[in-house]
């Protein structure tokens, strides 16, 4: 387990300790146990409203995502159609789009001067649509990945035994999808519950989640005690969620022999099936492409027709708070932070994944791996913890000796790595575990040393997944907004921070710059994501 040690230390220092600091701050604001702030927060009607809103907003977002996403999952799982593979990759693009880009896109579309003329920002609808945009891929890809492995012959057997198509779906397909639907719903709920950037940009004054409130209490009102109490409340909620999530997950894998995906795909046979395919593709196109396309197109629109004014204007724009920092500095900053994050999270993620898999191997069958679920769950906790918690925790915990990173350039890559690590581990563990132990034994018996086996057998089998994980970490860092908002140094803004600052300033020029920067960020991330998704087999990944 020596391999796991650096990761454990890293997470203890940069995740566990900040969380402890939050709890300490909330319960002992002035050095001794004092529950007054707690009582005040719980009694404050406006804060209670925020908590209540966070809850029902995430429930509603989850329902909307399921209703819209499940038919699309069916389409991917059952039909062959042109562009299916590409579309499957493209679905990921919105999921990893930075919240500020999506916020800007929806402002362009349904903002006060949006192109549709429908002004929805400041209402629940804007938040629901944006959450649908983000989480659509979670539902579609998680559920379709399971659906593809279901044997269609079970449905056919049910049909010959007297079941109508609807009752065959209800009694055969749905029960076997239930755990993947629950898993997808849990993730959507989690993400909606901890939604920050979208709500900040689109929610207006009245639509506020706990995350936004924590940020405002910290950055605007400087009520760190109140923020800490809110963060504790949110953490408790998240831990409860993770427990439920884990339970739903543990009930997976009921099918006997899983079929290779793609084997059962058929062109839609009836008029109804063709209609189902077309309408789902239309929804996908409208929901996923339109906001981003409108954003790109609008960024080329100027006061006098079309042009690159918004982009050329970036050269003279200033995004620092006190000195002359240009947006290009922000781009360079973002790239540097993203590279550092990528290196940290892949090194730490790969070593801990190897440690987990190696331990499972020594214990026996690879299945035992999931028996090690406690260790795994502990490593997954940051997935549930919100970016704001990470940012706020690091802010109050790492600003004094022995660890003072407040003014260090490493603060952001570290926080980003905490956020990216769970994704990296989730991507790497199954891939490492899927290597047949007999291959390694064969290597050893042919005379290769342990290191040699690792270099010439294990590494070539997993390098693709390593690149995928690296790309994911890169994209996460590039778009990270929640934690960055707390930790960014005012003169080293990242791209998302520069966008949000431009959005925060009045004037058409500023909005144009926000759009131009959003398009740049969007393009970089889209390219990274499409490239890495091409490296993975269809259906192997959930999201």
């Amino acid at each position: 387990m020596a391999l796991a040690a650096p990761t454990v230390v890293f997470l203890a220092l940069f995740f566990a300790w900040p969380v402890v600091a939050i709890i300490d701050r909330g319960l002992r604001p002035s050095g001794h146990l004092q529950l007054g702030v707690f009582a005040d927060v719980l009694a404050d009607p406006s804060l209670r409203r925020v908590a209540w809103f966070t809850l029902w907003e995430s429930l509603l977002s989850t329902v909307v995502c399921l209703v819209v996403g499940l038919p699309a999952a069916a389409v991917f799982a059952r039909f062959a159609f042109r562009g299916r593979r590409t579309l499957w990759s493209l679905l990921l693009v919105p999921f990893v789009m930075p919240t500020v880009v999506v916020g800007t896109a929806f402002l362009t579309l349904i903002g006060p001067s949006g192109v549709t003329g429908v002004h929805l920002t400041g209402t629940i609808w804007a938040i629901l649509i944006a959450h649908l945009f983000f989480n659509y891929a979670v539902v579609v890809r998680t559920v379709a990945a399971t659906w593809m492995t279901l044997d269609n012959r079970q449905v056919e057997a049910a049909r010959t035994l007297g079941a109508s198509p609807i009752s065959a779906f209800r009694s055969i397909t749905l029960p076997q999808l239930r755990s993947s639907i629950t898993a997808a719903a849990s993730i959507v709920f989690l993400f909606s519950f901890t939604s920050f950037g979208v709500v900040l940009l689109l929610g207006g004054v009245h639509q506020r989640t706990l995350e936004v409130e924590i940020y405002d209490q910290t950055a605007r009102f400087l009520h760190l005690d109140v923020a800490a109490v809110l963060a504790i409340i949110q953490l408790v909620g998240l831990v409860l969620l993770l427990v439920l999530f884990g339970r739903a997950q543990s009930k997976r894998d009921v099918s006997l022999e899983q079929r290779r995906s793609g084997e059962l795909l058929r062109s839609p046979a009836s008029e109804a099936q063709r209609w189902a395919l077309r309408s789902n593709l239309l929804i996908m196109g409208t929901l996923l492409a339109v906001p981003l396309l409108v954003l790109a197109v609008r960024s080329l629109q100027t006061a006098h027709g079309w042009g690159f004014d918004a982009y050329t204007g970036l050269a003279s724009a200033r995004v620092g708070t006190s000195s002359f920092i240009s947006p290009f500095d922000a781009i360079v900053n973002s790239m540097r932070f993203a590279l550092a994050t990528m290196v940290i999270s892949v090194v730490l993620g790969a070593s801990v994944a190897w440690a987990l898999v190696g331990r499972a191997r020594r214990l026996g069958r690879a299945r035992r791996l999931w028996g090690d679920s406690l260790a795994q769950a502990a490593l997954m906790v940051p997935l549930g913890a919100s970016a704001v918690t990470v940012g706020f925790g690091c802010l109050i915990a790492l600003n004094r000796p022995p660890v003072n990173l407040r003014s260090s350039l490493w603060m952001l890559p570290i926080a980003h790595a905490v956020i990216a690590l769970p994704f990296v581990i989730r991507l790497l563990v199954p891939s490492f575990a899927s290597i047949d132990q007999r291959l390694l034994d064969a290597g050893s018996s042919l005379g290769a040393s342990r290191l040699r086996v690792w270099w010439s057998i294990e590494l070539p089998l997993v390098w693709r997944q390593l690149i995928v994980a690296a790309g994911f970490a890169f994209a996460v860092s590039l778009g990270e907004f929640g934690a960055t908002s707390f930790l960014v140094r005012s003169d080293d803004p990242t791209l998302p921070i520069a966008i949000s600052r431009a959005l925060g300033r009045p004037g058409g020029d500023n909005f144009s710059q926000a759009m131009a920067l959003s398009v740049i960020l969007m393009a970089v991330i889209a390219v990274v994501v499409i490239l890495i998704d091409r490296l993975r087999p269809l259906g192997s990944s959930e999201f």
Binding site: Q154, E156, A157, R159, L161, Q176, R266, S267
Partner: protein
């Protein structure tokens, strides 16, 4: 003449976008209580045929009649047929009893009656007490029986079996085959059984149909078909190894005259070690002991022709590759094959 229980008339099935139909204007009938085995190489359309009969595949033209009623356009759930799938398609999220009871539930049969019938079926397939077991804990043979019980539960007018035993190892397969046969006979079930294994068909069928490229190329009782196959293809498919031109074996066949391609039954070929009385006319090229007999392949000295024969492995009959032998064919074992 009374009509068959299931009649297939000029049935044509074409996969989407395919130039050639998978089932090409096929016609045959199944009488009540009859077991039909359809054999053919993989890809010949036999599974498609079964799926079309079950209503899982739509047909381009032709008709399927069940008990005189046209069911060509009837939905699968209303046909009154049951199908046992190649890899069984058991419902992994339901226990054994729930799997068997599925069809009964779909027919809204009440709980008590359902339970009673499931008990009976579990007895029938010798799985007493397995009702609450999960499918994943069953062995291959036990799963097979659950699938069979599930298909029988709805008392289908015709039972469709798609390679029902292909996943099992040989010993288990022979046992189950015998059980199936006795079961079908004792309940006078009408069965269409599809397999690529002619041995399975021989053991089970009242009548066999040989399929090739979506059409029937041979039919008859198993023994008749074996002893008088209608073509070289059918002969080879059924497992005959001695299919050759008559001219090539003329020298070893006693007083007979034929033309074209012939089938030489292995049991009609006698092989003895060469001696003064029986001069050598062939050389043993391989000898394989199968447990019950010695399977010999002999090359005729006057050409490239090889003939297979069986020999008693006891005593002096044990021949080895390279031994020179005297080979003779009884003319009763030579069949002309229409080209």
């Amino acid at each position: 003449m009374h009509d068959a229980l299931l009649q297939v008339k000029e049935l044509t099935v074409r996969h989407r976008g395919a130039a050639k139909p998978a089932i090409d204007a096929m016609s045959f009938g199944v009488n009540a209580g009859e077991i039909i085995s359809i054999v053919g190489e993989s890809g010949c359309g036999k599974t498609t045929l079964l799926r079309a009969l079950a209503g899982l595949e739509s047909s381009e033209s032709g008709h399927v009649l069940l008990g005189g009623a046209d069911i060509t356009a009837v939905a699968p759930q209303s046909r009154g047929l049951a199908m046992m799938f190649q890899d069984l398609a058991l419902f992994p999220h339901r226990d054994v009893a729930d799997n068997i009871a599925f069809g009964l539930r779909m027919r809204h049969i009440d709980r008590a009656e359902r339970q009673h019938r499931v008990e009976g079926l579990l007895d029938l397939v010798r799985l007493e007490g397995f009702g609450k077991r999960s499918i994943s804990t069953l062995s291959g043979g036990q799963r097979q029986r659950v699938a069979l019980a599930r298909a029988l539960a709805t008392e289908p007018k015709v039972l469709l079996l798609d390679e029902p035993l292909s996943a099992l190892d040989r010993g288990l397969r022979d046992d189950l085959l015998r059980e199936l046969r006795d079961l079908f006979r004792s309940r006078s079930l009408s069965v269409i059984h599809v397999t690529h294994d002619q041995g399975e068909a021989f053991a089970l069928a009242d009548r066999m149909l040989v399929m090739r490229s979506g059409a029937i190329v041979g039919s008859g009782a198993p023994a008749d078909l074996w002893h008088a196959p209608p073509s070289a293809f059918v002969a080879k498919f059924l497992g005959h190894r001695n299919v050759c031109e008559f001219d090539a074996v003329r020298s070893v066949v006693t007083d007979s005259e034929m033309r074209g391609t012939v089938l030489v039954l292995e049991r009609a070929v006698s092989v003895v070690a060469a001696s003064e009385a029986s001069p050598a006319n062939a050389v043993v090229s391989s000898a394989v002991f199968t447990g019950t007999h010695l399977s010999l392949c002999c090359r005729l000295e006057n050409g490239d022709t090889e003939l297979f024969a069986t020999a008693d492995p006891t005593g002096a009959g044990w021949l080895r590759p390279g031994d020179r032998v005297c080979l003779a064919v009884d003319r009763s074992g030579v069949r002309a094959l229409p080209s």
